[in-house]
């Protein structure tokens, strides 16, 4: 319990006053010579149970009355389940606000979203507390911004909901950086979140560092988590999984693939109207949802032949979460997919050229060109999607060119050359070739993302069928995407901001591996890389909110978006934006549609060793976490006084009972 006037608690010893007075009173007895001792002796022999309890109760109620008065003037705050035992004034209070799209979910029977409820709850609670400085760290900007007080939470634009996911570990790292830099004496950290797994990333390696960092701080940092873990089982979301423009003899059409999901599936089949809006023209289709998800593949929407590029939006009827009821997309003519293969031994990498040159869609032109390392000067890099490098790692000017290529979004895959050099690229270099007597299978690979991710239907790629006879060790700091049975990495990604430089530990040559003979994996891997590289070349791009550099959005003009979105928040808000000739569709990440939350035990483990408390709330809850409860103590005081008075009323027999045998007394009473 916290007190707004903790100094008044110094008067708490006064609660002993009734006991002291009682003891003094006991010592201030009078002495009387008494005749009727036989009744006193008889009274002493009688049971003293009730009398003794009554005496103790009277003392207890008197003590309670005094304690109630002192507590009331100390202005206590009820902290609900939060153990704000220390109380007092914090030097700095940091509010870590999860603004992710899942926080848009409304509570049952209320129009308030989790984010609004959290803000109001924090406003109600924190406005009663005192703090030297108030800081807001919101999940979109991830910067500690000083605010005037808890009142600002309701009015600041930085507390409005966004479509971007939250990165709670990053917020905590920001909080830690602030505490370390400013060294406030006592810091309170309030986290308001819905505990989504994708926001918390509880399995990530950063948590241990965060824990240890906070534990090492000399000053006390206390964490309070205001959690909204409840998910609406009937919430539905819509997502466009693919869109492409297709021309045929009769005209042009847009082939739209979309997916509608429900948080908890049911056997019942539900018809859901889906609104399609393409360049402002609206139409509606109906999908039948059964089991929890329905996917519509290549739904053809006829468009004008002259409409080569544009934008659109799909939406479903409103439900508890408005953020996942719409999805934006942009479309354009397919961009030519150009791949440059640099090799000092072109014969060895024919399979690579073939896999890159044959596109999955006949309407999308694909091209692969094999060059020697010395022919790169003539390459038009602005049209290249993928660069495959099968030569000693580039150095000097050549390396700068490739770095620039990667910087603008081009994909790069390095294959080990026959003759290894000692040079490195992006902090990675090849070591010696290893030749295994027996072919080594691939034991582990990352199936949820990256080049080897599972297919859209969820089926895994047949990576396990690959066999590797010769491989080259990869040295340097990388993220391993696939590794051999002996632990050696086969496919690794260099740690760069763009995450688009890969190193493959073997080649498709028959003496090295079965990449070419079991060509599915190689083909999918290359086509994915090409598609990703091509996506930054076209005039339209599908982007994920929160993963966009805000600096690039300065020239953006909104074409379709929520009305109350600030121009500075385009990088975090879903919508369609235009910059010069380019169209950008910004949407929430796919992980935002997954309703999984971090379980209680792992969550407690994340804050193990830290001063942490948690309260689970529901959206729309109007009970304040903290409120002044001096009235309660006044009521306790009054109740104690009334009970004390009731107990103090002497219990005496009826007067006529005793005076019944006194005729004179009766007459006197009558007179």
């Amino acid at each position: 319990m916290t007190f707004l006037q903790p100094a008044m608690l110094a008067a708490l010893p006064i609660i002993a006053l009734p006991i002291i007075i009682h003891l003094i009173n006991q010592r201030r007895f009078q002495t009387i010579r008494w005749a009727a001792m036989m009744f006193l002796l008889a009274a002493n022999r009688m049971s003293r149970g009730y009398a003794r309890i009554r005496q103790w109760l009277i003392l207890l109620f008197r003590t309670l009355a005094v304690a109630g008065l002192i507590m009331a003037v100390s202005r206590p705050l009820a902290s609900g389940w939060l153990g704000l035992a220390a109380g007092g004034r914090a030097d700095a209070t940091l509010i870590l606000l999860d603004r992710s799209s899942s926080m848009w979910q409304q509570g049952q029977g209320t129009a308030l979203t989790k984010l609004e409820s959290g803000k109001q709850q924090l406003h109600r609670s924190l406005s009663l507390l005192q703090s030297g400085r108030w800081l807001l760290v919101d999940s979109a900007h991830n910067k500690a911004t000083e605010i005037e007080g808890a009142d600002s939470l309701l009015s600041l634009p930085d507390t409005s909901p966004v479509s971007a996911s939250a990165d709670i570990p990053a917020l905590l790292q920001t909080a830690y950086a602030y505490v370390q830099a400013n060294r406030p004496s006592r810091t309170e950290v309030w986290i308001c979140s819905d505990l989504r797994q994708n926001d918390w990333n509880a399995d990530g390696g950063r948590w241990q560092t965060i824990r240890e960092s906070f534990q090492e701080l000399p000053q006390g940092v206390r964490f309070h988590l205001l959690a909204y873990p409840d998910a609406d089982p009937r919430n539905r979301s819509i997502r466009v999984t693919g869109v492409r423009r297709h021309e045929n003899a009769s005209g042009a059409e847009l082939l739209l693939s979309l997916k509608v999901e429900q948080t908890t599936g049911s056997e019942e089949t539900v018809k859901i109207p889906v609104q399609l809006e393409i360049e402002g023209a609206r139409s509606e289709i109906t999908v039948e949802l059964s089991g929890g998800a329905v996917e519509l593949k290549d739904h053809a929407v006829p468009i004008e032949r002259v409409q080569t590029r544009g934008w659109g939006r799909v939406s479903i009827p409103a439900d508890s979460n408005a953020s996942d009821n719409e999805f934006f997309f942009v479309f354009d003519r397919p961009t030519p997919r150009k791949t440059i293969l640099v090799s000092d031994d072109p014969a060895a990498v024919t399979a690579l050229q073939l896999a890159a040159a044959i596109g999955p869609d006949p309407s999308t032109p694909c091209e692969a060109e094999t060059l020697g390392p010395d022919q790169l000067a003539s390459v038009p890099w602005e049209t290249v999607s993928l660069l495959m490098w099968h030569a000693p790692l580039p150095t000097g000017e050549m390396a700068d060119t490739i770095r620039a290529f990667a910087k603008r979004g081009g994909q790069v895959i390095f294959f080990p050359p026959t003759a290894l050099s000692n040079d490195g690229f992006a902090g990675v270099k090849w070591t010696d070739w290893n030749e295994a007597p027996n072919a080594i299978p691939i034991s582990t690979w990352t199936g949820d993302q990256g080049l080897l991710a599972n297919s859209q239907s969820g089926a895994a790629l047949p990576v396990g069928q690959l066999k590797v006879q010769r491989y080259c060790e990869i040295e340097g700091e990388t993220t391993t995407l696939a590794s051999l049975q002996n632990g050696a990495p086969l496919l690794a990604r260099a740690i760069t901001d763009e995450r688009n430089i890969y190193f493959c530990g073997t080649t498709p040559a028959a003496k090295d591996s079965s990449l070419a003979t079991d060509g599915v994996v190689l083909y999918v891997m290359l086509q994915r890389a090409i598609a990703t590289g091509a996506s930054v070349l076209g005039n339209t791009r599908q982007l994920i909110a929160g993963e966009i550099n805000p600096a690039t959005t300065e020239q953006w003009q909104p074409l379709s978006r929520r009305e109350d979105v600030l121009s500075t928040d385009y990088a975090y808000q879903a919508g369609v934006y235009q910059a010069e000739e380019k169209l950008f569709a910004v949407n929430r990440s796919e992980a935002e549609d997954r309703p999984m939350v971090v379980a209680d035990a792992p969550l407690a483990g994340l804050f193990q060793g830290l001063d942490f408390d948690r309260v689970d709330e529901k959206a729309g809850s109007s009970t304040s976490l903290i409120e002044e409860i001096w009235r309660l103590f006044l009521a306790i005081m009054m109740l104690a006084l009334i009970l004390e008075a009731a107990l103090c009323i002497p219990r005496r027999p009826q007067p006529e009972t005793i005076t019944a045998g006194f005729p004179g007394a009766t007459r006197r009473a009558a007179a």
């Binding site: 201030r28 008494w34 005496r652 004179g664």
Partner: protein, 303 residues
């Protein structure tokens, strides 16, 4: 009668003058020495006819009823009730507890007034008065006499009686029941702070000896009300252990004990046919005595 002597401090002549208007009667036949106002168990020479009895040789011929002989041709002797005086034995409790009084008068002082007044009234109407002061023993006793000079002695004893010692009233009553000659008026003036069962036994003994027993049970208003506010240390006036008590704590149990005791006493005196008067000593003793005398007037006549 008292004008030529120094008046005792506890005697109020005016009150006595008012009380003298009502005679003191016994509820039972008394055995006295001389003729008086009270019924006797024997036949005598009063004017009140009692019965006819057959003449037996030796009877005084002057008592033959010649009219009855004339009607029945048989000799009958006509008998009349005897009137006698009574012996009033005052048993005066001088135990230590009688020294208590919260209203400006102690119980022993109150008892002196009752005893002194009764002694005066009895002797004034020719009855004999005796006095026994009892505490843990019979402190002082004088036998009943009916002379006015004897009254002075009674007053002297009353005046000099000191409240001292334990209450052993039951034992002393048993003792006095044996020593007082049968058929006397025994008046007990005490606070009766003994067990009701013991007291009842003593009363039964007195009744067995055909005494007419009257009891003045003196209680102080403070003893009845127990209206203390502060913690008190109670010192036993009869030398027992002291008790420390918080009045609020003990009052209800004290009252319960007192009520039980008074109920038991009441039951005891009703079963023993005792003329019982419970007196709160803030009441005027004159009214108490008037009630006593008037009550006896109503119950007079049994032989």
């Amino acid at each position: 009668m008292l004008h030529d002597r120094r008046t005792a401090s506890f005697i109020d002549p005016q009150a006595l003058a008012r009380l003298a208007a009502v005679p003191l009667f016994a509820r039972k036949p008394m055995l006295g020495n001389v003729s008086g106002k009270h019924a006797s168990p024997h036949r005598g020479a009063s004017v009140e006819f009692a019965e006819y009895r057959k003449y037996v040789p030796g009877d005084d011929l002057r008592r033959l009823d010649w009219r009855a002989y004339g009607r029945s041709d048989r000799f009958y002797v006509k008998e009349f009730e005897a009137d006698t005086n009574l012996r009033c034995c005052l048993i005066f409790d001088t135990s230590g507890s009688m020294d208590f009084g919260s209203t400006g008068i102690t119980k022993i002082e109150y008892a002196r007034r009752i005893a002194g007044s009764l002694a005066y009234l009895a002797i004034q109407q020719g009855d004999a008065v005796g006095l026994s002061c009892v505490a843990d023993r019979v402190v002082r006793t004088i036998p009943p006499r009916r002379t006015p000079a004897h009254l002075r002695g009674v007053f002297n004893i009353l005046e000099h009686a000191e409240p001292k010692g334990d209450t052993k009233l039951a034992a002393r009553l048993h003792e006095l029941a044996e020593t007082i000659r049968q058929r006397a008026l025994v008046v007990i003036i005490s606070d009766l702070f003994i067990e009701p069962a013991e007291l009842k036994s003593a009363f039964e003994h007195l009744r067995f000896r055909k005494h007419d027993v009257a009891v003045f049970h003196l209680l102080d208003p403070l003893e009845l009300g127990f209206t203390f506010k502060r913690p008190m240390r109670f010192l036993d006036m009869e030398g027992g252990p002291s008790i420390f008590a918080e009045p609020n704590d003990i009052a209800d149990r004290y009252q319960a004990a007192l009520k039980t005791y008074l109920d038991d006493i009441k039951t005891g005196v009703l079963e023993s046919a005792i003329d019982y008067h419970r007196v709160s000593i803030d009441e005027s003793y004159e009214q108490v005595l008037m009630r006593f005398l008037v009550g006896r007037t109503r119950s007079r006549g049994a032989r």
